[in-house]
């Protein structure tokens, strides 16, 4: 099923050659891409640039001690979030793991609320309760942001299950990492998805590593890739060069149509790469991979550069416009940092809010009794 040729061999992280011009435009004539307006192409470019600038600003702020916990950067993988979101319809939903900034901005969450969440501020998208790993925007059909590896995979199945149950023509796109395929619950989810014809699309973001463990050391790699395990469940699958937005869009859209028309699941494996460590805590990420490998991806397989190159070729984008977009994104990110900085922290009383719907909405239920059990509270 996969069109991945030995030459492009994304299966061997770090050794794959850059895509040829033929490869890059191989999917340009695909209806979903042929019909893509210049504005839409610019927007996709802008979104990827905004994600990168947001995270670069977040990284700086982290280093200034503005936030706690983890910070997992998505830089290098931007097309994997922006591509699918750019072909989603109004009844399609999305859910991912803890490396969620890209997906959040792609669906339209604001830099301010996202940055404020990192800063643990009350103005954050989760009121400062979730942090970097736990962004949510149900109004944009974005369901997080999940910290437990593969914990989101049955949740994505459930979202799609609900759509089918309600007779809504839509699907759920559920992301997971190459390390997450080793959690059993993902396999349980695949079987259920196929057995019950659930319109869910699993996108394995194979960035070559789970923390310091190369993909080859964590999961047996079938010759056709991890996605090919889908055959054990009679699920359609495909593999994607993550640096080529056209390819990401075309193959994701094919899966969405399958979900909409046949209510069948799909497993997609996107070969991509993260430039930074697993998280900011992962300072020595050059111990388990070489500088050369990182540079290889940055120079020859960067999704933003590749897309810019394509749009320049097509005359849709100019160097000037590109610079301008970058400057604006930087501005927007700087502004978000200022907003986050100036926002207030949540009051301690927030500790007991949003635990129970029934506590937060007294009129709506018949619950009685004591539900919190501290002998005394510190605030």
């Amino acid at each position: 099923m996969s069109n991945l040729t030995p030459e492009t061999e994304p299966f061997s992280q770090g050794k794959s050659r850059a895509l040829s011009k033929e490869d890059l435009f191989a999917f340009a004539k695909d209806p979903i891409n042929a019909s893509m307006s210049a504005d839409a192409k610019i927007k996709a470019f802008t979104d990827m640039v905004r994600i990168r600038k947001f995270e670069q600003a977040a990284l700086q702020s982290y280093q200034k001690g503005k936030m706690g916990g983890f910070l997992h950067l998505y830089i290098g993988q931007e097309a994997t979030a922006v591509g699918p979101v750019s072909v989603m319809n109004e009844n399609d939903h999305i859910i991912t793991a803890y490396r969620d900034h890209g997906h959040a901005l792609a669906v339209g969450m604001g830099m301010n609320e996202c940055m404020a969440e990192l800063f643990g501020k009350f103005t954050g998208c989760s009121k400062g309760k979730g942090g970097s790993m736990h962004y949510f925007a149900p109004d944009k059909r974005f369901w997080g942001g999940h910290g437990i590896v593969a914990g989101q995979t049955p949740l994505g199945l459930g979202l799609a299950y609900a759509l089918k149950y309600k007779g809504i023509r839509g699907c759920a796109i559920c992301y997971l990492g190459d390390g997450a395929v080793n959690q059993g619950v993902f396999h349980e989810s695949l079987n259920l998805a196929s057995l019950w014809d659930i319109p869910v699309i699993y996108v394995i973001e194979n960035n070559g590593y789970s923390m310091g463990t190369s993909q080859m050391r964590s999961s047996v790699f079938p010759d056709a890739g991890l996605a090919s395990r889908a055959e054990g469940y009679k699920i359609e699958w495909d593999s994607i060069h993550g640096e080529n937005l056209y390819e990401v869009r075309a193959k994701t859209y094919a899966a969405i149509e399958r979900a909409h028309n046949e209510s069948r699941p799909t497993v997609l494996e996107v070969f991509t790469y993260r430039y930074y460590g697993h998280s900011i805590a992962d300072a020595n990420h050059q111990r388990y991979r070489t500088k050369e490998e990182i540079r290889h991806y940055q120079e020859r397989k960067d999704p933003i550069n590749v897309w810019e190159q394509i749009l320049l070729e097509e005359g849709v984008l100019t160097k000037e416009r590109s610079k301008e977009i970058e400057t604006l994104a930087k501005e927007e990110a700087r502004e978000a940092v200022r907003f986050a900085d100036e926002s207030p922290f949540p009051p301690p009383s927030q500790l007991l809010a949003d635990v129970y719907h029934s506590v937060d909405n007294p009129g709506t239920h018949t619950n009685q009794g004591t539900i919190f059990f501290n002998d005394q509270l510190p605030f």
Partner: protein, 329 residues
């Protein structure tokens, strides 16, 4: 009021709520075509069909997670655990995901699921199948736990649980399914979550229990009256979290003595928490320390006569009450 079994009461609650709300559906192993391993869902698949009553493969983590995700979009899955012990293979989904989603999203997401099934020992199925995890589940802020002891409470609590907008664990007992009792037919009959029930009035000692142990307490109370003219008050917690502190403290302040009875293993069991609350908030009213009776602190024993000894019975309660009240046997 009709006299029906605990099993029938739950079935009626499920049927009424499926009828009432299109978003309610049942999912679990053997719940549909097989009519349920313990026949709690008998006839519901025939009556409501594939969409509302769903047979699932043996993938508890998968279908509990599915239920949580589906609940984000407003569905109200009622997820059956054939045995509650099996929730352990889905523990992360059931307690971590279900309890954290609303909080981590700053209140943007709700998780109106029900996870129900039998959680009891005493059926000679061995250590891995006989767990009573209500204490552990109630440890998680974000979750609710109810444990009905009678048919009426089973129906009223199940209906409340299904209508609740938070995750509710309804812990039943295979040993209670066959018990009969009067149950209001009113389709709006709801037992509020978090309200205990004084199942027997008394002035000499408070026997506090939940689930099957409530019946043990009532049996003991009757014997106490007969053999020692002791009037024991029997409090059925009904709900573990939220907990009706007011009712149990009121009782202890009246009787000045409390004996907690549960099938939980003792270490950090529900009784430990109740004991702490009583001594903390009714210290000056206590004429004796709070006593507890739990299952013998070992994995569940297969051999029927020995497992019988392992689980609290009314004789043991009697012995302990005599002990508290300094009554010679």
């Amino acid at each position: 009021m009709a006299v029906i079994t605990y099993r029938q009461a739950i079935k009626d609650a499920l049927a009424e709520e499926i009828q009432r709300d299109d978003n309610v559906f049942i999912i679990g192993e053997e719940v549909a075509q097989y009519n349920g391993a313990y026949k709690v869902t008998e006839g519901l698949w025939k009556r409501f069909g594939d969409k509302r009553v769903v047979d699932a493969p043996i993938s508890e983590a998968g279908f509990i997670g599915l239920g949580i995700g589906a609940s984000f979009l407003g569905l109200r899955p009622v997820i059956e655990m054939m045995f509650f012990s099996f929730v352990y293979v889905a523990w992360d989904q059931a307690v971590n995901n279900a309890s954290s989603m609303r909080y981590m999203s700053g209140g943007l997401i709700n998780c109106p699921i029900v996870i129900r099934g039998p959680a009891n020992g005493g059926t000679n199925v061995g250590a891995t199948h006989s767990h009573t995890p209500e204490n552990m589940i109630a440890n998680f802020p974000g979750l609710k736990v109810v444990v009905p002891a009678t048919p009426a409470d089973a129906k009223g609590l199940m209906k409340s649980a299904i209508r609740d907008n938070d995750p509710v664990f309804v812990m039943e007992s295979t040993l209670l399914y066959g018990n009969e009792g009067e149950v209001p037919e009113d389709e709006e009959y709801l037992v509020p979550i978090g309200s205990a029930d004084v199942k027997r009035q008394g002035s000499d000692i408070s026997l506090i229990a939940h689930g099957g142990s409530v019946l043990v307490a009532l049996e003991a109370a009757a014997k106490l009256k007969k053999e020692h003219n002791v009037d024991a008050e029997v409090i059925d917690l009904r709900s573990i979290r939220p907990l009706d502190k007011a009712t149990l403290l009121k009782s202890v302040k009246k009787t000045h003595r409390a004996l907690l009875i549960e099938e939980n293993k003792p270490f950090c069991g529900v009784g430990a928490q109740i004991s702490h609350i009583i001594q903390r908030e009714a210290f000056d009213y206590l004429d004796a320390p709070v006593h507890r009776i739990s299952a013998v602190d070992a994995p569940a024993f297969y051999s029927p006569p020995v497992e019988k000894v392992q689980i609290p019975d009314s004789q043991l309660v009697l012995r302990e009450v005599r002990n508290i009240l300094n009554i010679k046997a």
